[in-house]
Symmetry: C3
Subunit: 310 residues, 3 copies
């Protein structure tokens, strides 16, 4: 698809500064872009790269100052992030046809909507349900009693519905741990996205549940009977232990750990690598392992760091 | 399977308080249970939920006080955790037939017991041995020279026997790292369970070995030539670096890291997210990164946290 | 392959102390070795094990003192690590034939060199390129626009090229996050090795790139548009967030986390479990979460630990 700067600007509802007749053949990063590429600037830390860029056009917020080379046109928009998402959607080749790959292994009792995509090497166990417009990437495993509502994306090699980590400790003459069978399921609500190689355990009884619109990055661990609310964001390698309940609009940085059997309120924010050992009220912002309020952590940290200088 | 409260109680060797004639159709969490469900209470933090529960019956320890709604019968037992495990075993539908799926890829030199289950998309390399009653879930990969004794469970997409992370550093005129070939194997003893997406590297020479009854949760990393003793419990996302030796009955919390080439004694306990940089004697309880005795950590931590308030 | 101690010594360009006529049938660890095995000593922490070893021969650095049992010959070499790598290479059975397994799923538009090995259950998407002598282990997933140069190894169940974790936050009347399509790719340069179950996200636009000779262990997460230089070493469970740029010859310990959008210089060293929140100049050695210079961390840590004793 080749579009002129002018056509892109009209389509994005933006205004052009500079030459609007140039033909653009694709999108690129500011550093890699040539005069045939469209780029974008949202984060001010990349201002210097934008000013040195050879891009044919740069999409930018309405009111941001930027001094670019004469060959680079600016397309000014209300919201440069959203404009960028629109551009990428336009340029993205829909990668896969819908339907169930003949190279997927699907239990006869599974119910899969005709608009869903199930790719090669996927395994789908008994009584799994997959709703409209879901995409299940190669090698994902959906154990029995997993339900995906609508527009759910499960990336490659993710495992949904494996047994939780539950054992009865040694008792009396018993020497080792005894496995607690898991007979519950997993429910992923509308618009959930699950990253590659992420694991979500099934409930012991009842459900492990991830709310509408929540995004889980790669290599995360969600324990049995965890309930996560709507529109949360979990960065890569987060681990949440069993039976913890999390509210809506929470954000967890990479490698965060959350202990089991606690409650995290709505709109909580947990910094990367933090460990949360107890329940948090709505709107908490915490950091550290074990975690404390971010402002408290910062003050303690500055003194601590200082103590290492002498 | 529909059983009355009375039948469940007799089977669990318990005594009933309340109506023992109600028919129960399944198990559920205290919050989700209706009058047709059996639930259980072991952890006192769920007492309030038990008292509000609509369950038809709740299994509970012999001597615990609990005020439930009139419709809810109590089944009092010696050990509510073990009773719960028995109930779930009873209700669990054995999920899979034994045998080797025609959609698994099995090297001709592998030896697999007739009672073992090898599911779709599993890959089994040369000279692998799988003992009686093992279950290997879809997408698990067993590299050459892996041995599973009896009743071993390997969950979906786990990788057992991949090359360890061993390289000779650049020397003389050599520019980069050179790979050290790995020719050893992995031995998983009786009743070991390996979580989904967990990785266990093969020995450089000799074995990486996990002792009888040890349970490893999802997304863990066990380095080459690690030896883990019997009846240990490793929570999710734990990492153990190469050649470390671990005793029996150890417990590691989630996201723990253990450095390579050290020795951890028997019955050691390492708190979540801790990092262990040196050997530990039998019975150690440590916390922190780097880890120290738990009591010491707690005292240091309280002062540290306090220092962030002013 | 059975060789005498003498033959091994000649082949390794070493000198023998003790009986050079013994026949050796394989390699083993010092503890497990019998008189038919060759072992090696490089790390002095294993000196006691070497002195108690029953090995037929031990490969050792030219000038190291060691008192072994009379039945054990010493083969003294310039570099015992490199000699060990040579021995293992010699003993390693090349495990797999080259070529594309008929049980791999390969898009018609992918280009795969005839000398490459693509094993069972591998999925290769559109426009993927795989160069000479690459090995892709079972269950690895290469999303569209992934390129492997030469001699790249991708271990089992690794996922290369999945979508990065990019969303536009809720705006105006929009309730949830909107997915930013990813149309970029991944480039793995010559001699890169990717561990089992590791995830490498594709660029939003442009490339996620890993430089020549860099080794990435199991269960690591490399975010979208990350650039890693040459000959770096990333231990298991490391996470690097999007758009971060890393120099050459860096070493990251296990479970390290690196924030997004920063720059790490050449020859930087980051200790296990550390978290790097800001850019680092060439040659930095840091530790802690958040990380600081190692020497500063050590001083602060000693005082901290001391404060827990009273």
């Amino acid at each position: 698809m080749v579009w002129t700067v002018k056509t892109w600007a009209e389509w994005l509802n933006g205004t052009v500064e500079g030459d609007d007749s140039r033909c653009l053949t694709g999108a690129a990063t500011l550093t890699e872009a040539t005069s045939e590429h469209i780029g974008f600037l949202a984060n001010p830390i990349y201002t210097a790269e934008a000013e040195k860029s050879n891009a044919g056009a740069i999409v930018i917020q309405k009111d941001v100052l930027l001094r670019v080379s004469p060959q680079t046109a600016l397309i000014r928009v209300e919201n440069s992030y959203q404009a960028w998402a629109l551009i990428l959607k336009k340029l993205s080749d829909t990668p896969f046809a819908s339907g169930i790959s003949p190279h997927a292994w699907v239990d006869a009792s599974a119910e899969i909507d005709a608009s869903a995509t199930v790719m090669e090497g996927v395994w789908i166990g008994a009584r799994v349900r997959i709703g409209a417009d879901c995409i299940v990437y190669p090698g994902a495993r959906l154990y029995p009693h997993t339900e995906l509502r609508e527009r759910v994306i499960v990336h490659a090699n993710a495992v949904v519905g494996s047994d939780g980590f539950g054992y009865t400790p040694p008792q009396g003459t018993q020497v080792g741990f005894e496995k607690i069978p898991h007979i519950g399921g997993v429910l992923l609500e509308n618009d959930v996205e699950i990253g590659a190689n992420t694991c979500i355990d099934r409930g012991v009884v009842g459900l492990t549940r991830i709310g509408e619109g929540t995004k889980v990055d790669n290599l995360c661990q969600i324990g049995h009977n965890v309930h996560i609310g709507k529109h949360c964001v979990l960065a890569a390698q987060v681990g949440i232990a069993g039976s913890t309940v999390i509210g809506d609009y929470c954000q967890f940085g990479g490698q965060v750990g959350i202990i089991g059997h606690i409650t995290i309120g709505n709109r909580c924010s947990v910094g990367a690598q933090s460990g949360v050992p107890k329940s948090l009220p709505d709107g908490s912002t915490v950091f550290g392992s074990p975690a404390m309020p971010l402002s408290q952590f910062k003050r303690a940290w500055v003194k601590w760091k200082q103590s290492g200088l002498s």
